[in-house]
């Protein structure tokens, strides 16, 4: 009997512990596993090392004081360039340690992690502020005739990984239907088996996936996944093309609330104090109120 990996948001995050290294898939404000992040906010887990091409996932975890160390290629909301909680976390130095990489360097760190290599070489980052502010980064000299000195980007290994895909079967074969996989396969690949969680818009049969799109979209296979959670609208308010686009109005409301302590408290009470179903209901209610 094949393994049925279906689980729930709360059971998934219950396997995490304070102090772990968590990788979060997606890109900026695009296809972020937000329902898993919201579930994580319902626990007491803290002192996390978070690795991300960051968006509101990083913002929310920083705002809630759950991040001890942040490793990022950037943190942005795309259509709104600056993530407000990340911004204040940096400006108030509330995250104990930050590691800022060039976008390509972060891919290399995750790729090295997923290939079980200690590092991968690149020119990206050399001579830039990235090496000025990350003095632990080392270089490596090509052993061939060119003898070029390259940056050795150290591998990142994760204790837990969250990604959100469009479709998955119950075994964790998953499908992206939008224009970009981003680096979700590398986040899963760089993660130790046991806590590789994949939420999706819809769980379908294996056969149904190829009825919807070509085999090129099947970039996540079940050997890369430990738990599957059906979580409709789970990437909200980030985009999850073609199931839905970014909720720009809600994102703008999030940014506005983040700028003021009282407003942020009200936002948390309204949207982040209950279950995922409560969140989705609160968003529906908010939409009704603001659509007139």
């Amino acid at each position: 009997m094949a393994t049925d990996k279906r689980t729930t948001l709360d059971s998934a995050v219950a396997t995490l512990e304070s102090g772990m290294t968590l990788g979060i898939g997606g890109w900026g404000s695009r296809r972020k596993p937000m329902s898993l992040v919201r579930a994580l906010l319902r626990t007491d887990i803290k002192d996390l090392t978070v690795v991300s091409y960051g968006g509101p996932d990083v913002g929310l975890l920083c705002a809630a004081g759950r991040v001890k160390k942040l490793i990022y290629g950037f943190v942005s909301l795309d259509s709104i360039a600056l993530e407000p909680h990340f911004r204040s976390a940096r400006q108030n130095a509330t995250v104990a340690e930050c590691v800022e990489y060039d976008e390509g360097m972060l891919q290399w760190a995750l790729y090295a992690g997923s290939l079980r290599l200690p590092f991968l070489p690149t020119r990206a980052g050399l001579g830039s502020g990235v090496v000025d502010v990350n003095p632990s980064l080392k270089t490596v000299v090509s052993p061939y005739a060119d003898a070029e000195e390259l940056l050795a980007v150290p591998a990142i290994r994760l204790d837990a990984a969250f990604v959100h895909l469009n479709r998955s079967d119950i075994r964790g074969n998953a499908q992206f239907l939008g224009p970009d996989l981003y680096f979700d396969d590398l986040f899963l690949g760089a993660c130790e088996p046991g806590r590789r969680f994949l939420s999706c818009e819809k769980i379908v049969t294996t056969e149904q996936m190829l009825q919807e799109a070509s085999f090129h979209t099947l970039r996540i296979n079940r050997s890369m996944v430990d738990g599957v959670i059906e979580s409709p609208n789970g990437a909200h308010f980030t985009l999850c093309t073609p199931d839905y686009e970014r909720d720009e109005k809600f994102q703008a409301a999030y940014v506005k609330a983040a700028g003021d302590t009282t407003e942020w408290e009200a936002f948390q009470n309204r949207f982040l104090s209950g279950t995922e179903a409560d969140y989705q209901n609160a968003v529906l209610q908010w939409r009704k109120e603001t659509s007139s």
Partner: protein, 250 residues
């Protein structure tokens, strides 16, 4: 200058000119004016350029800003963008919150990195871009706060830093143009320090100097930045029917 030609038109032409001679590479524009520059260059004098929709596709037709009627000629998700960056087959025009006379740029943060006074975008792809391929810059409002003696965080390598890394890096590193609301600059001097290439109509060399926080190379005869010809202006209006470029510079 004809009265119906605006500063934005001059600036887009300068942006397009920075891609002249690039051939069959990815001309990548970050923001309205750089994107228009790349699309205008391809629609006129540099027809082999590849341009993207800013999401994940190369667009084969002359797509207006905000247009959706695109002919997709290729797929370029982020990991293919990184591959293209590192291969060198790209010329990007991006912004800079600070730039120094060697072309070191900063989009990352103002004040010390450890605890910035203002967290901006972070280094993003700047280090990989500048060490791999041609990088030009568009700066909508030049001032001594932007044209500085020393940038707070190096997100993009200038010529002095590239030179310290040896011949291979120097071969790939190139900063063809810096374009502002006042003037156009390059680094084609013996010391690779910034040179004033042209001033926009109505701008004096003194205006430029007053808004520059370091010593510029200035020739004895600084030309005026060129205006679009009729064909270029018609094409530009087709590529930007809503006139979004006029909101960028004034």
């Amino acid at each position: 200058m004809s009265t119906d030609i605006t500063l934005a038109d001059i600036v887009v032409i300068a942006a397009a000119e920075s891609f002249r001679g690039d051939g069959e590479i990815f001309a990548s524009g970050m923001g309205t004016i750089p994107m228009l520059g790349a699309r205008l260059a391809r629609a006129t004098f540099e027809p082999d350029l590849l341009v993207s929709d800013g999401e994940a596709f190369f667009v084969g037709n002359d797509l207006p800003l905000g247009g959706s009627d695109k002919v997709i000629e290729g797929w370029i998700p982020f990991r293919s963008v990184f591959d293209t960056v590192w291969s060198g087959r790209r010329h990007v025009m991006m912004g800079a919150s600070q730039i120094d006379r060697f072309g070191n740029t900063n989009i990352a943060n103002i004040g010390p990195w450890k605890q910035p006074k203002a967290q901006l975008l972070g280094v993003r792809g700047g280090p990989g871009n500048t060490i791999s391929h041609a990088t030009s810059f568009f700066i909508p409002k030049q001032s001594t706060k932007v044209f500085v003696e020393k940038v707070d965080m190096v997100s993009g390598l200038g010529y002095d830093r590239a030179a310290q890394l040896g011949d291979t890096v120097m071969r790939h590193h190139r900063l063809p143009r810096v374009i502002t609301n006042l003037a156009v600059f390059d680094f084609e001097t013996t010391t690779h320090t910034m040179r004033l290439l042209s001033v926009h109509p109505g701008v004096s060399v003194d205006d430029v100097v007053a808004n520059t926080g370091f010593v510029l190379e200035i020739g004895s005869d600084v030309p005026i930045s060129r205006a679009p010809n009729e064909t270029e202006l018609a094409t530009l209006n087709r590529l930007d029917p809503r006139g979004l470029r006029h909101r960028e510079v004034a």
